[in-house]
């Protein structure tokens, strides 16, 4: 079974703080993704990565950055958290040859005060 884990289920931060969200997958997947999920807007892609040290912008990358130093780990960074980044953040991974079948982590619910 594919397992994708995220470092925190719930997180509360203050405006302006730097926030790190960590995601680890244990199935040697090449692709990893970060989404945010908001009511009425569905899941929106922030960043994705096809390989170590590679990253591609998704649909809403502004205010975020990512890091992929190891194949199994993909980090999402909020350089200076703002209240409009309050959201559910979901990480996913997939195989290179089957990119569309993505396996999701349990999500991190972030509240920025």
């Amino acid at each position: 079974d594919v397992k994708v884990t995220q470092s925190s289920r719930y997180l509360v931060k203050r405006t302006g703080e730097k926030v790190f969200l960590e995601c680890v997958q244990d199935m040697d997947h090449e692709n990893m993704f970060w989404y945010r999920q908001d009511p009425g807007l569905g899941l929106r892609l922030i960043y994705f990565s096809y390989d170590v040290k590679m990253k591609e912008k998704g649909d809403i990358p502004e205010g975020y950055s990512v890091s992929r130093e190891k194949k199994e780990r993909f980090s999402l960074i909020l350089e200076s958290a703002s209240t409009n980044q309050t959201s559910m953040y979901l990480c996913a991974s997939s195989l290179w040859q089957n990119q569309e079948t993505q396996y999701f982590g349990p999500g991190t619910r972030l509240l920025v005060l």
């Binding site: 994708v4 989404y35 009425g40 807007l41 569905g42 899941l43 929106r44 892609l45 994705f48 998704g58 979901l90 990119q99 569309e100 079948t101 993505q102 396996y103 999701f104 982590g105 349990p106 999500g107």
Partner: protein, 109 residues
């Protein structure tokens, strides 16, 4: 611009009922369509559809894709309380999934 519309937004049924969830899409470079079930945590994969008219089944769930009319349906027969969840439709183009906002299904005993 790519567009995915799911209907209904919300559905409340009793155990044993049959439900049909709809997904229509307009996506450039369409390759496949995926359905996910999301309870209070991670979306879990249900189906991937690539060919028109071929039904995929898994237990009480089934799904079919119509690439000419650009829609897919997800059927759940003999619903159970454990089917209560948000069901997400996600067409895939050449490099990403494009998610709809989901249908929230509530099944009461």
């Amino acid at each position: 611009e790519d567009k995915v519309v799911q209907s209904p937004l919300s559905l409340v049924v009793h155990e044993g009922d049959t439900v049909t969830l709809n997904c229509s899409y307009e996506v450039t470079n369409f390759r496949s369509l995926l359905w996910y079930k999301q309870e209070k945590k991670a979306p879990t994969f249900l189906f991937m559809l690539t060919s028109s008219g071929i039904e995929k089944k898994s237990g009480r769930l089934s799904s079919i894709l119509d690439k000419k009319e650009l829609f897919s349906i997800l059927n759940i027969t003999a619903t159970q309380t454990g089917d209560s969840a948000i069901y997400l439709c996600a067409p895939y183009n050449t490099d990403k999934l494009i998610f709809g906002t989901g249908t929230r299904l509530q099944v009461f005993p």
